[in-house]
Amino acid sequence: MKRLVAWVAGVMALTLCAGGASAELKGCRASRALLDLGNPLEIARTAVADERQLRIVAMGSSSTQGYGTTNPHFAYPYQLKMRLEEAMPGVAIHVFNKGIGGQDADEMTARMKADVQPERAHLVVWQVGTNSAIRRIPTDQFAKRLGAGIDIGKSLGANFVLMNLQYVPAVVALPDEEEYARVMAEVAKEKGAGLFNRFEIMRAWYQDGMPYSQFVTSDGLHLNDFGQKCIGKLLSAAIIDTIAPKQLTGAPITPH
């Protein structure tokens, strides 16, 4: 064991001269139209402008939890926090990660109140749909649960952004995955929620020739580091564009 200690210490000394990291995400892109959330997110916007803070609950399953990443901080919720802080200096950004792997819309609706209320969220990003599609939950039941979940969150005073399914081999192979995506868009419209169209954004990556290995882990289902960071970056851009468009041009937020 002493040998081991000596080695690790020695090697640390050798390697600690390293430093820095590039956060560049080559190939991470989405068309402007795909980044339109389709909702003004009034509550979130007001919170940023008046309270100088934004409280976000990231509700979801394994994507939210960060399964498949080499570091949970690469998962989109933390990336969102990082990028919002960067884009809106002086605004306190809180992102509460409520991801539990394997859950579907039913299970998340059941804990919506308990997870959103104590955080006093202005915005709930709800990543959902994949597990419901894999479990073949009938789409009308799925729509009903989704709507109920949004209603609970809205009654607690939060805006919603739904994040739909990921475009990965295990999801694409399902017979009716697009039906779930369509239902989510419908429910979002009907309930006044935003929609972050992860499915189409990722499909565009694939159709542009990006291989699955670049953004999916070897299980064919979960996003890897690149996939998560890129989704985090694009989601942040979509939210910033919606609630603080000036920030994109670099102009400072005008204090009230």
């Binding site: 064991m1 040998r3 081991l4 200690v5 080695w7 690790v8 090697v11 640390m12 050798l14 390697t15 600690l16 390293a18 430093g19 820095g20 990291a21 590039s22 956060a23 560049e24 939890q65 399964y67 080499t70 570091n71 949970p72 901080h73 690469f74 990082m82 991801g99 539990i100 792997g101 394997g102 081999p169 295990a170 694409v172 192979a173 399902l174 017979p175 694939y206 020739g209 990006m210 291989p211 699955y212 290995s213 999916v216 882990t217 070897s218 299980d219 064919g220 289902l221 979960h222 580091d225």
Partner: protein, 376 residues
């Protein structure tokens, strides 16, 4: 009382060689976007170096402790296994500290809070006391620190299976498969930190690789029986490997991916790693079967000098494993600093393998002579 089977003495150098290879692969695969990792198995099929490492660990655990149990009794063997478990635990904690220290050092020295944000070990920043406690309990395993805890749990349970595996290897395989099936079916896993997380390598599923490896040690002579089906089995294995290679390469090349019919994708995905999907396990078994036929334990090339670094790394697997995981993080930082340049990827890969080999030679020199006692 039945006569206990004799466990072969002497070191099967195939085990050292392939475990060394697995350790090299694990190092190369843990450097993100590393062009050199094209040399590793995971690009050409479902299973990767983890299966090799766990299987050989099960295999060598029986070699190391079964004879000890027969000569000195179960209590002594169990005590030695727990001494090994303790070493693994200490190594894991040391690795955790070294990891955290490296991230902190780099961030402070370079004044790059962005790196802390990128690399920050979840929880360590927000709730360090809790994170340290959970790390000590093996529930908090940031970044790539998942394999040793798996190994610790597997080995901690091993004393209770050891007497059974030397007498009834087929029985152990049957029970192991049953536990594996039940784990997948009921979605069992061990709790982790932060809350609601689970073990990335589920010990209750991955035990199947370990115990099939352990049983294979005892079944050596009986495989002659399987050899009657050598040809059909080999043909099946080759066909399956070709299929898996096609699928794995399709992740890299979209035109290949488009050739795969929907009914195939629908049935194979997801190819779970946490609960070692049956496709992964079968893939490993097919590889192992073909390697067994292609590489007899007395194959001359095993002793070629060019493979000596691999064998040395395999002989000192715990130290080299820890070193490799640590070096992979350093390599990641260096590659990131050089904007993912291919030269830096190749450079850190070669440097890392050289350091690992040098360390293994150092360990061999220190130990003077073949290492037997800590072989598992």
């Amino acid at each position: 009382m039945a006569v206990l089977p004799v466990i072969a003495s002497g070191r099967d150098i195939r085990l050292d060689l392939f475990r060394g290879l697995a350790l090299w692969f694990i190092f190369l695969d843990h450097i993100p976007n590393n062009i050199v990792s094209w040399l590793t198995v995971r690009n050409y099929g479902f299973s990767d170096a983890t299966e090799i490492f766990v299987f050989i660990s099960g295999y060598t655990a029986v070699i190391a402790y079964a004879r000890m149990m027969q000569r000195e009794g179960w209590v002594r063997a169990a005590a030695r296994i727990y001494r090994r478990v303790w070493q693994l635990y200490v190594a894991h904690i040391l690795l955790f500290v070294a990891f955290s220290a490296q991230v902190a050092w780099v961030s402070i020295a370079r004044d790059t809070p962005a790196l802390i944000e990128e690399m920050e070990l979840l929880g360590l920043g927000q709730n360090p006391y809790q994170a340290i406690l959970q790390a000590a309990l093996l529930k908090f395993r940031p970044v790539n620190l998942d394999v040793l805890p798996l190994y610790i749990v597997l080995l901690a349970f091993f004393p209770f299976v050891l007497p059974a595996v030397v007498r009834w290897p087929f029985g152990v395989i049957a029970v192991s498969l049953a536990v594996y099936a039940a784990t997948c079916h009921y979605d069992w896993n061990l709790p982790a930190y932060p809350e609601n997380k689970v073990w990335y390598f589920n010990p209750m599923a991955w035990q199947v690789v370990f115990y099939v490896g352990a049983a294979c040690t005892m079944l050596g002579p009986q495989f002659a029986w399987l050899d009657r089906f050598r040809w059909p089995l080999s043909v099946l294995a080759v066909l399956y490997l070709l299929f898996a290679a096609f699928i794995a390469l399709s992740w890299q090349y979209n035109p290949m991916e488009k050739l795969i019919p929907d009914w195939v994708t629908r049935n194979i995905y997801p190819i779970d790693k946490t609960n070692i999907d049956i496709l992964r396990f079968l893939h490993f078994l097919a590889v192992a079967w073909l390697v067994r036929l292609a590489v007899p334990s007395n194959a001359p090339f095993l002793r070629w000098r060019i493979f000596e670094p691999l064998r040395r790394c395999g002989e000192h697997s715990l130290q080299i494993f820890c070193l490799g995981i640590f070096l992979a993080l350093s390599a990641q930082v260096v590659v990131g600093q050089n904007e993912d340049s291919i030269v830096s990827q190749v450079g850190v890969s070669i440097a890392g393998l050289l350091i690992m080999s040098a360390a293994a030679y150092g360990a061999a020199w220190y130990k003077r002579g073949p290492a037997i006692e800590d072989a598992a």
